[in-house]
Symmetry: C2
Subunit: 229 residues, 2 copies
DNA sequence: CGAAACCTTGATATACTTCAAGTTGAGTGG
DNA sequence: CCACTCAACTTGAAGTATATCAAGGTTTCG
């Protein structure tokens, strides 16, 4: 699953420049990071990191989607974010000096660049641009989470479903939203049964189309407005 | 309300060293920031900044408490945080390049240091220690907010009240918790009436004592465990 | 082809909200 | 210092969104 052979085929075609936080970096800086990274492929439903563990590196997504979530006492997941191509996951804890507060699992086959913490930290200490870019990223994340808190506490499940669908539309782009009902429920923060009933309502009202597991938005945007998670 | 006269009595005794994010800085760096700051006093219930506005500076609390919140469509506040001595509020948006996503209002008489955005940014560009300290702070904040999301979506109002009381105990320290029922409800994310009924339950069960508006925790910790907001 | 995971529907229970009305308390001006 | 007023607090009653429990159907995949 791990490879650090620079001639391994998987190591081609995955430029770190395509990772959003790294895009402001010079080619030189990108190259330094690439020297220290490993390309990893994950199968569907593979755990990437777990809450409570100490971070050992960061994970840059080249392809596939990853759910980032936290487990409640009863074992129920609350999904905080679905990360996709160009995103980095697992680096907040490094900067706060904490353990992971969240877990991450692949939702599909994924290819990621894994950058060890010491390689990364070294760059952080010498590269102001990188540090600023990361600060910007985490600041945005924190703002998004404040909005999510409000949504969770003030919106009905129905409104939350609409909002989450709009968020997911941006993530799945031209593809249809493709999550298990349980994952979708765990993102919306509701019971699976409730989610299913609401999806049916949305379908009956012509807001969405349902194609098996996949969901296509028709006029959700007209009724609800998106939040930025 | 504003003064930049260095001999004004209010400008004495308020060292920025007592602000947590600035504590790792050299005396020299602290001094540079202090040269550019203004000391401001706010009366109780005075707005400090409002969501939607462009940030113009940061607010470092020397004394008093400030609620940081966001307004729902119906005008209901969701309190995200109660900031107190040593905290800085209003600086996340600066780093994400956004407008304020949250509003802030004083809960008591407050004395703060206001540092203009350009003075602050200048320091950021030249002081790696400061940048790292801020990154650390925002990373912690983001982690705390992820926990809050889980709490909001998975815990009952009763459990949330207990958790928030424990959080507030840390903020009010030796003082008793002193918030209006409405503010407390807006932090817990519930209706004021529900909050009042639950407080009565807690009192009847011997978990808390109620002294007018003030609340003293007796054995909340034994029944619930605190989250880190 | 069989088992397991996933999905769906129905029935029931309840935590919480909302509305309404009354009480208490805090701050202000005379 | 008292009285007045507005905000804050409290209780009750009624309605509802959502969770939970139970059971059956369907897809997926080894």
């Amino acid at each position: 699953m791990l490879t650090d052979d620079p001639h391994h085929p998987k190591n081609e075609f995955h430029n770190l420049k395509e990772i959003a936080v790294f895009s402001p970096l010079s080619d030189e800086a990108i190259h330094l990071l690439e020297k220290g990274r490993k390309i990893i492929s994950y199968k569907k439903n593979h755990p990437i990191f777990m809450e409570g563990a100490h971070p050992t590196g960061i994970y840059c997504i080249h392809s596939g989607k990853i759910k980032v979530f936290t487990l409640g006492e009863t074992g129920k997941e609350q999904i905080i974010r679905i990360a996709s191509k160009g995103d980095v996951v697992g680096f907040r804890a490094i900067f706060s000096g904490e353990r992971f507060k969240l877990s991450a699992t692949s939702l599909e086959e994924c290819v990621i660049s894994y950058i060890k913490i010491d390689v990364f930290i070294e760059q952080i200490h010498t590269n102001l641009i990188l540090l600023q870019s990361i600060l910007r990223e985490i600041a945005k994340e924190s703002g998004a989470r404040a909005e999510f808190i409000k949504t969770m506490s003030q919106k009905t499940v129905r409104a939350r479903l609409a909002i989450i669908l709009l968020v997911l539309e941006d993530i799945y782009k031209e593809d249809m939203i493709n999550l298990t009902r349980e994952d979708l429920a765990n993102f919306v923060g509701t019971a699976t049964e409730t989610l299913i009933r609401l999806l049916r309502d949305f379908k009956d009202e012509g807001l969405i189309e349902i194609h098996g597991r996949k969901i296509k938005l028709i006029k959700v945007k007209e009724v609800y407005h998106k939040a930025e998670y």
